[in-house]
């Protein structure tokens, strides 16, 4: 790009590169991708997270059977909830992108943003879940159907993000990744069902049965708090990511304008020498 830019700036005055000197966006609260709404949302997220720490770690009581480790539950349930919501949103947005009447790259970007946030929360879920498993079952990992399906979801969406990063035009990226996201919707129930059937035949009781938690009012409240806090965080992250992706795409399109100008300049400089070019290529026969 740098080379072509130099070449352009000294050709004509009407090329789009003249618009290149863009006024930087006015410095506002919440950065370039923030609005008043996301600022309020972010503040609410931070406040509810602080409340969650307060209630989850200090105010809520320990469980009778689980002891202190029940406090992990708030994190674990919150993150897994967000991860599943995120992948659901990815699937719906992908379907809307593929459907001719609602197709828009915005849906594709929402799908991508949501999957990215979902993958992070899925990783956190697996981490918190295995710690919880260590404390309540004595194992970091059990071959429970739900646990295994979660791990597969994680890997599947890592693959989805890899497909998004393959390159090509925006439309191509959107079509490819939307199809992969919908195939994941096909795949996950099959994985879950097969793992469930597998464990069901080989192990009498699922380990999940031994982790019954009697939830007191204050614990229930903390759990709800966790769901709210993580949902707010999810919305904030996806909104910002979606805007960053939109800017990235817009920048790619701008890059095309500059590249077009450069390409056209190639033809206008070559015009004067075209006669000699013809003779030269003719001579090589």
């Amino acid at each position: 790009m740098a080379v072509t830019q130099n070449r352009i700036t000294n050709t004509t005055a009407t090329d789009p590169l003249a618009e290149r000197s863009v006024e930087p966006a006015k410095r506002r609260r919440g950065g370039a991708t923030g609005t008043r709404f996301t600022f309020v949302l972010g503040a609410a997220t931070i406040a509810s997270m602080a409340l969650l720490v307060l209630f989850g770690l200090f105010l809520s009581p320990a469980d009778i059977t689980q002891g202190e480790s029940v406090r992990i539950l708030y994190i674990h349930v919150g993150t897994v909830w967000v991860a599943y919501v995120a992948f659901g949103v990815t699937a719906i947005a992908s379907a809307l992108f593929l459907w001719k009447r609602t197709t828009s790259l915005t849906w594709d970007r929402i799908a991508g943003a949501s999957a990215e946030v979902g993958v992070l929360f899925m990783a956190l879920t697996l981490f918190a879940g295995s710690i919880w498993g260590r404390l309540s079952w004595g194992q970091f990992w059990v071959w429970d159907a739900r646990v295994t399906t979660t791990a597969f979801l994680f890997i599947t969406y890592v693959g989805y993000l890899a497909v998004r990063g393959l390159g090509g035009s925006h439309q191509q990226r959107g079509r490819r990744s939307a199809v992969v996201a919908l195939l994941a919707v096909l795949e996950i129930p099959l994985v879950h069902f097969s793992v469930k059937l597998w464990r069901g035949l080989h192990q009498e009781a699922s380990v999940a049965g031994t982790t019954k938690v009697q939830l007191e009012n204050l614990m229930l409240f903390s759990l709800f708090l966790a769901l709210i806090a993580f949902t707010l965080l999810y919305v904030w992250l996806v909104m910002h990511r979606q805007r960053v992706l939109a800017m990235q795409d817009a920048l790619d399109d701008k890059g095309l304008d500059y590249a077009l100008a450069a390409r056209r300049a190639e033809s206008s400089t070559a015009a004067t020498t075209s006669a000699t070019t013809t003779a030269a290529t003719g001579g090589t026969v």
Partner: protein, 44 residues
């Protein structure tokens, strides 16, 4: 109370992970905004 390390580690990992992602998005947004005119950012 020997589980306190385990419990705290899940909280810390979750918050560090979320903040890292949020910070990355904001920084990336700021950098891109410098190269784009305001009409490409309809949410402003």
């Amino acid at each position: 109370m020997e589980d306190i390390g385990f419990i705290l580690s899940t909280y810390i990992a979750t918050f560090v992970g979320s903040v890292a992602l949020a910070w990355y998005y904001l920084r990336r947004g700021k950098r891109l905004a410098e190269q784009l005119p305001p009409e490409d950012m309809p949410w402003i």
